[in-house]
């Protein structure tokens, strides 16, 4: 469904991604793990059109999307839940969700998906008229996910959804990720919490200083010594 072929991405003169290639099949949960500054967010931003690769290309559902503007990528069914949630704090919960459906015009479909998001996250329903800046971190993560789901994505890119959340909330978020995936949405999950990420994913890539250094099934990586030492807190 998504193929990334040898992309090189720069910030000015600094190269953040070196010859990165990954692929994601329809229906999968694929995770990308790596330490701070490895280039995980850079990769997601390049996929969603916020950054342009200097060389290499990205093919999504048979179409080349590298270099296309972010809005056409959203329109094609790829939604990105950014690192740090980035909810629109000055807007209400409901308005945030409406903006998630910005490119859609099917009123009935939007209403139905909004109801579904509220079903997944009942806390958002209770707070729908509240300014989203006043939500807790976990609630903001729910909102960021719900907002992305409102675009009716075929693939969801998630950047560190567990960041800064208490273990119980992390578990709740990961349950939702599984549920969304079971409903047919493909997921590309970026995490530093390798333990959680490998437990939901079918396959994984490890990114180190802008290069893919390991890849394989989640199970293989969970058992690999390198991953255990570096990302799972020792043996």
């Amino acid at each position: 469904m998504l193929q990334v072929n040898n992309i090189n991405v720069f910030y000015g003169n600094i190269q953040a991604l070196h010859d990165v290639s990954i692929d994601v099949q329809e229906g999968e949960i694929v995770t990308l793990i790596g330490a701070n500054g490895a280039g995980k967010s850079t990769l997601l931003k390049t996929l969603s059109g916020l950054l342009k690769p200097k060389t290499g290309d990205i093919v999504y559902l048979g179409n080349k999307i590298s270099g296309k503007p972010a809005q056409s990528i959203v329109k094609a069914g790829m939604s990105h839940v950014p690192e740090g949630r980035r909810v629109f704090a000055n807007l209400t919960v409901e308005e945030n969700l409406e903006l998630g459906a910005y490119l859609r015009n099917d009123k009935a479909g939007i209403a139905k998906d909004m109801a579904h998001v509220y079903e997944l996250f009942p806390r958002l329903l209770e707070r729908k008229k509240q300014l989203s800046g006043t939500l807790s971190g976990g609630e903001q993560q729910m909102l960021a996910m719900g907002r992305a789901l409102m675009a009716k994505p075929k693939i969801l890119l998630m950047d560190e959804p567990s960041m800064g959340l208490a273990p119980l909330m992390v578990k709740a978020i990961f349950d939702i990720i599984r549920m969304v995936n079971a409903e047919g949405t493909t997921v590309l999950l970026v995490e530093q919490n390798a333990h959680m990420a490998l437990s939901v994913a079918s396959r994984a890539y490890v990114l180190e200083t802008g290069r893919i250094v390991l890849s394989g099934s989640a199970k293989e990586l969970q058992e690999s010594d390198e991953v255990r030492a570096a990302y799972l807190g020792g043996l």
């Binding site: 972010a70 980035r86 409406e98």
Partner: protein, 291 residues
């Protein structure tokens, strides 16, 4: 009852400042630029209205509408030609460019029609209406009515429409807005269009009220509207409305107390006091930002 009369005058003059201030505050909210050419868009609006009423004889409301449309287009052209390419450069570069655009508009206007002032035709009959014993000018009430209608319309656009929500989203986080599929460039242009249309409307009602217009007429109301925006809290739409009205009332009372030569000084005094004691303004968020 004289004070009631002065209050109504003050509020209606203030509502002109408020209309201009809205453009400053909306543009600042979305791209963090003080658009110093905004007062000149107001001037162009006044002239469009003047020509529409005196030469083309189309009446007040159509003239108002025409001025708003032309100013909206002008605002978008200014943004696309002068500011868009500076979005990633330093703020001072954009600020200097804005001053340049302002001088350009003023001098182009002088070049094409001369610097002399023009007298607005009295299309609207101005009579005194007796309200609780106070003599209130019908023109003041008209100005107030038009301004309040436009502000309510703006509130509706900003809070209830798709483009309004996009504007608020972009002003909070442009990158996250892109991830929603919002076209940030178009949203910024829409903000300029709306702000400039309001300035155009302010120009026409200013012309009706003060009757004299000239190519440099935008400078002082422009600065006062900027003060109103800072007073209300730059970036805040209700702030600009309240700030403008307050400024108008203060000025009117300063004049009414016999200090009319101090009227402009009062505005600057307010600016200084605000900058010292509450730089975020009445409705602003409590973050200090240098302009």
């Amino acid at each position: 009852m004289e004070w009631l009369q002065q209050l109504v005058n003050g509020i209606s003059i203030g509502s002109i400042y408020a209309l201009i201030a809205l453009g400053y505050t909306m543009v600042y909210g979305i791209i963090k630029l003080i658009n110093f050419a905004h007062g000149d868009v107001f001037m162009i609006g006044a002239f469009i209205g003047f020509w529409a009423i005196s030469r083309w004889d189309i009446g007040f409301l159509p003239a108002l509408l025409l001025a708003m449309v032309i100013c909206a287009v002008l605002g978008v052209i200014i943004e696309r030609v002068a500011y868009k390419r500076l979005r990633n450069s330093t703020r001072i570069a954009a600020l200097i460019t804005a001053i340049g655009v302002s001088l350009l508009i003023e001098n182009l206007m002088i070049f094409f029609r001369g610097a002399q002032s023009a007298v607005y035709p009295a299309t609207i009959e101005n009579k005194a209406i007796n309200v609780f014993g106070a003599q209130i000018s019908s023109l003041s009430l008209l100005i107030l009515g038009v301004s309040i209608f436009l502000m309510l319309l703006l509130q509706f656009i900003v809070h209830k429409t798709k483009i309004g929500k996009a504007m608020r989203a972009v002003s909070h986080d442009a990158e996250a807005a892109k991830l929603m599929g919002i076209n940030v460039d178009n949203t910024i242009s829409a903000t300029f269009a709306i702000g400039s249309a309001l300035a155009g409307a302010a120009g026409v009602i200013f012309g009706l009220y003060y009757t004299r217009i000239d190519p440099l007429m935008g400078i002082v109301p422009g600065i006062k509207a900027f003060i109103a925006a800072v007073l209300g809290g730059i970036g805040s739409i209700p702030g600009a409305m309240v700030g403008g009205m307050l400024l108008g009332v203060v000025e009117t009372f300063v004049s009414a107390m016999g200090f009319s030569s101090w009227r402009d000084a009062a505005a600057f005094l307010i600016l200084i006091i605000i900058l010292i004691f509450k730089p975020s303004g009445l409705f602003g968020k409590n973050t200090r930002e240098k302009v």
